[in-house]
Symmetry: C2
Subunit: 226 residues, 2 copies
């Protein structure tokens, strides 16, 4: 029974890591679709979000089944509950990549991103990829140092988000209101993607250490820069 | 033991209903702060979001404690797991009200909302209040009819969201890029607030009926109009 439980926990952990791969691939491809005005790639990101939703459903079913069959307590229970919350964060990251892809599709054959904002958006895509890749390792290895570092890593995303808004608001914006609306939403999608990555890291810290403070910060994370 | 469990479930349900009241009050006050450029009211909304976060933490602690002590199965287990997810939705709705209040504070002593958008924002505030009030009844009474109706109720919010974007994008916008950025974010905050309300309703349907389709739709709900 105990051995079966450990196997199930490993399986849940593996599935969470697989979800980080899907969420990473989605945001990388969405960013390319956006910058290259590639409508087929955008469609493929939108379509593949179903796989992330299905992964979450599979994982949550397994977790609830585990609660029912094994009635875990203490740290085992904490692990299962945390896994369900982490799967919600990762599924949401997939949604945000899908939103980026939808902006790309909406503006095709144009690109939604004016030339002077391309570098910032590209960098936001890179940071998003880096954050979610680290999250994969943090889940797989329960690496506390990397988890504690992730908030600082996400500061780079917040700085890029501020840069983007500065470009919109410096008084020299010449691309009209529609492009401003698109860029506002895109900035928010990347920033929220980073927030969810940090939220996962803080949940893993809570899982390993039992530090409630981390959990508080996971709940509080959104919107620090506003 | 069984009687204690039923009492605990009632207590969880009461606390969720209390969270809907807090989330409602927050969005009502945030909307007033926004339209009246009332910085003190905005500050009070931002400050009171801590109470919603604390309510979620209390509720989640009780839920995990219940899982550990009582090891519920079947519909009892589903009830506890659903309560944890609903508390996450309601906590997020509080965050979104806080975001609205932060826009109000940022633009004080001006109002972030130009005259021709006031009616739309005011109506979004009313719809938000109506949705979350219905969610409170849906949780308290497990009212399936009201829950099934809530998606249609939220269509009104989505239509207002489209109206707002039409005002931004009809080519006659004369309030500059900063106001356009503010209105884009505000529209998104109200729309997401409505999405989370619908998500709660669908979770209650799943809870009562066990219809997986509702749960799928709860996961899928975001961004239908994009």
């Amino acid at each position: 029974m105990r051995q079966q439980f450990q196997q199930d926990l490993h399986s849940i952990s593996d599935q969470l890591v697989e979800m980080t791969r899907l969420a990473s691939s989605a945001m990388v491809r969405a960013t390319t679709a956006l910058l290259d005005a590639d409508v087929h790639l955008a469609e493929s990101v939108i379509e593949s979000d179903k796989a992330i939703d299905a992964a979450r459903e599979t994982l949550d079913t397994l977790a609830v089944d585990l609660l029912a069959r094994q009635a875990p307590v203490a740290s085992d229970l904490r692990m299962v509950v945390t896994a369900m919350r982490v799967s919600a964060d990762l599924e949401r990251m997939g949604d945000l990549a899908r939103h980026v892809a939808k902006v790309a599709r909406l503006r095709y054959p144009d690109s939604a991103v004016p030339p002077e904002c391309r570098a910032t958006i590209q960098e936001m895509g890179h940071v998003a990829e880096s954050l979610v890749t680290k999250v994969g390792s943090i889940i797989a290895d329960q690496d506390l140092d990397a988890a504690r570092q992730l908030e600082a890593d996400d500061d780079v995303m917040d700085a890029l988000h501020r840069d983007l808004y500065s470009q919109l608001l410096d008084g020299k914006w010449q691309h009209g209101t529609e492009a401003a609306v698109d860029l506002t939403l895109l900035g928010r999608y990347y920033e929220r993607y980073g927030d969810h990555a940090v939220s996962v890291a803080l949940r893993v810290i809570y899982l390993v250490t039992g530090e409630y403070e981390s959990l508080d910060r996971a709940l509080e994370h959104d919107g620090r820069e506003e």
